[in-house]
Symmetry: C2
Subunit: 461 residues, 2 copies
């Protein structure tokens, strides 16, 4: 069934004697002489307009079409006399594969709230907004791969199910095949030797630790896979299941990490503006005015590197009344991050050298014994978009940090082995994919930038 | 820390006055006048040889180096007098980041069994075989993305956690945050309204059903993500966690599906031979002689399409004594598949139109009321590598099939909706990524083609 994608039809530089398209009816209206049908096939935001004249062979079929029906049309692509569109399709043949009952089909012409559309996530890809989101997700994904491939990083697949309840990055989902109504309990504890993996297992919160193992053999690697947080966070910024990108570089320092993050973001933003121009204009006009300019200004700006200590001093001098008081040692809140990047620096900044108390055990200690070689990239409009660090590569220091944070080094024997055998400086970062898509599109709720969101109380479809 | 990757050093077309590499010592040997150190950084199979002369400034450091140590070396890249290598590195500076104790470092020069290496999966990426596997995984991944991107397919992310215990494709892992020692039991049943998602949840066995929803809005899509099977299969072909590629095309038939599968496999195999030549020669020489020729012959062959009914007739006439008796209605076993593709057709074949009893509910019924529009791609040396179908797009027929197979249509209301509203012919297939890597590399055990395998009883690292 050879069809031409509508995106390609609309880009045609000449009339076409025979052109076949297939898609779904978005709207239909009738004038005295013609029926106008707008068809969308997901390949672009714009519909192709099909014009059926009174007396045309497919006129009767066209009259009975409803919004949502799927059609297969062969006809002539001709210059359109209508304003705002270059081409229209004059059909010779119109096949209806599946109609859509106008009483019950939920996606009628009127505008629907995002809340309502979440309830019909199986159909919302047929809306303008979700269609545009999906095309942007696709391009950003390929941009991510292309960026790292061009730089010689290897894409690696770190495990999703893990028995190392390690990182403490967040609450974990348990994975089991035990019969919950007949659990093997011994001395008041569950005997996990009977579980599928012979141990208590959970869904990963990050591929970083395994990514480090791989970087310390292959040089430069990146992951791009799903991660999970079993946190009861009902916010517009949290998902229980989300995709994460985590590059890790051997023989690299915090400086290298900052440079990579800056180059990476600029590459992605440039890519998406180049390849999703129509969709980006849609987001800029309909969702968040200024979002396109925001991206463009990031591409041309030079990211400023600021120490946490300096950032705290700047925040203390702010005339802004913050909800959370500023003191050296606090974790920066979004209000602080946004003030720094929007009001003070007026461009993206990278805050480095955070107090070790508020950062993970694996970050490399600075000589001041107070801070670690962490880095967070903050962007206007959002705050933190990337978090990373140089990793602690000194065996003894790492053991001390683990103990200080109440972790048992025995649980991490394999991670520690990379510091016993051929340890090397290395650094990496993590980008939450959906947060990046949210930032790029300006979508207000993260549940609307992933096809089937998983959140507390909801894993439908 | 600017370093040059060893793969680039070795491809240099001229001597270099100053060249910095970093990596891990694979071997070291001493002659009267020189120390020869082989360094690998994961960028390619071949090591760069570092030659330190007696009296050189780094001679004393070099003498104390052990296998597994990580080093950072700046020196001159010079033509090598040794046979089999074009370049060698004469160091001016040699920094040891982390040594490796020669008593305890598990990866000494001798050859290790794959079984042993699985026990140290955190270190085995530093071996030739796993390094090569990882580079091939990377290239095949990017080939997959590039193939579909070039064809205008959208990469979509289908959910990992699901509450629709649907497809019956295999046993599922349960996902929960309930406290297993204090379960909310009511009338002898667990009250899942207290669980994280308010319902019983599990890990996906396939993204296909959600992929169909997306294809029936966006046209052509593909997934590439992890899938899970909680089956107690301790074989060389099964993993509990593996990555799957699942394209889905709207307005497509079984024929289109077969064509796409053939084009897809040829694209990937061509890509990997072009881009991983050194690694493929390694697999051809060390792991499975003939594997390279096997791939090349697939690329140049034309896949034969055979109906299941014809295949059964051919198998019945075979003089081969099969372990499983051949009758119309049986599921083809690997022995049958291999005989067909290796002995009878001597090239890849695509078997279509399987009996509906042995295939999933969503496959489109043929008019004979006995078979469905399924297709399996069989390749020499392995048997099935891809399975797919045209999907049942007729609402009534689909409902009947579900009921006949004991499924409750109410559980699939969202899936059925796509057949109620704008249904259209569509088709797709699935490729198990690790099985494809196993086929490409000739590796005997699937546990050795994924960095951290998850299998019954084991989810370490």
């Amino acid at each position: 069934m050879k069809r031409m994608r509508i995106v390609d039809c609309l880009k045609s530089d000449k009339s076409l004697e025979s052109c076949t398209v297939a898609g779904w009816v978005r709207t239909k209206r009738e004038s005295k002489e013609n029926i106008f049908i707008e068809i969308n096939d997901g390949s672009c935001l714009t519909n192709v307009q099909v014009v059926v004249g009174f007396g045309d062979s497919c006129y009767d079929i066209a009259r009975q079409l409803h919004t949502g029906a799927s059609v297969f049309i062969t006809g002539k692509l001709l210059p359109s006399p209508a304003a705002g569109q270059k081409w229209e399709l004059k059909p010779d043949k119109l096949i209806v594969y599946g109609d859509a009952d106008s009483e019950s089909y939920p996606l009628q012409k009127k505008r629907h709230s995002f809340e309502f559309l979440r309830e019909i996530a199986h159909l919302r890809p047929r809306t303008n907004t979700m269609g545009a989101v999906l095309r942007i997700r696709n391009q950003v994904s390929y941009a991510i791969h292309t960026f790292f491939q061009q730089k010689g990083f290897l894409y690696v697949h770190t495990p999703i199910i893990t028995t190392s309840d390690c990182e403490g990055a967040g609450e974990m989902f348990q994975v089991t095949t035990l019969d919950l109504l007949h659990l093997p309990v011994q001395d008041g504890l569950i005997d996990y030797s009977h579980d599928f993996f012979g141990a208590k297992a959970a869904l990963t919160v990050s591929g970083q630790l395994e990514g480090e193992l791989l970087a310390l053999a292959m040089g430069d690697i990146y992951t791009f896979g799903p991660t999970f947080r079993a946190e009861n966070s009902n916010t517009t910024r949290h998902l229980s299941e989300f995709w994460m990108v985590e590059p890790e570089m051997a023989f690299a320092t915090l400086d290298d990490d900052c440079s990579l993050a800056e180059e990476f973001l600029k590459f992605i933003f440039t890519w998406v503006i180049d390849r999703c121009h129509e969709d980006m204009v849609f987001f800029d006009e309909r969702i968040k005015p200024g979002i396109l300019h925001n991206l463009e200004s990031i591409i041309t700006s030079s990211f400023e590197i600021v120490t946490y200590t300096d950032a705290i001093a700047q925040l203390k001098q702010a005339s802004e009344p913050f909800e959370y008081a500023v003191e050296w040692g606090i974790d920066l809140q979004t209000e602080h991050e946004r003030w720094l990047t929007e009001k003070y620096y007026k461009k993206p900044i990278i805050v480095i050298d955070y107090p070790h108390e508020i950062k993970a055990f694996y970050m490399k200690q600075n000589d001041d014994n107070k801070t670690v070689k962490a880095m967070d990239v903050l962007v206007p409009g959002v705050g933190e978009i990337i978090g990373g660090s140089e990793r602690e590569d000194r065996y003894d220091v790492l053991i001390q940090r683990m103990q200080a944070m109440g972790l048992n080094p025995d649980d991490y024997w394999w991670y520690l082995d990379t510091r016993r055998y051929g340890s090397a400086p290395h650094a990496g970062f993590g980008l939450g994919f959906e947060r990046a898509i949210q930032f790029i599109t300006g979508m207000q709720n993260i549940r609307d930038v992933i096809p089937f969101p998983r959140t507390p109380g909801s894993a439908k479809f």
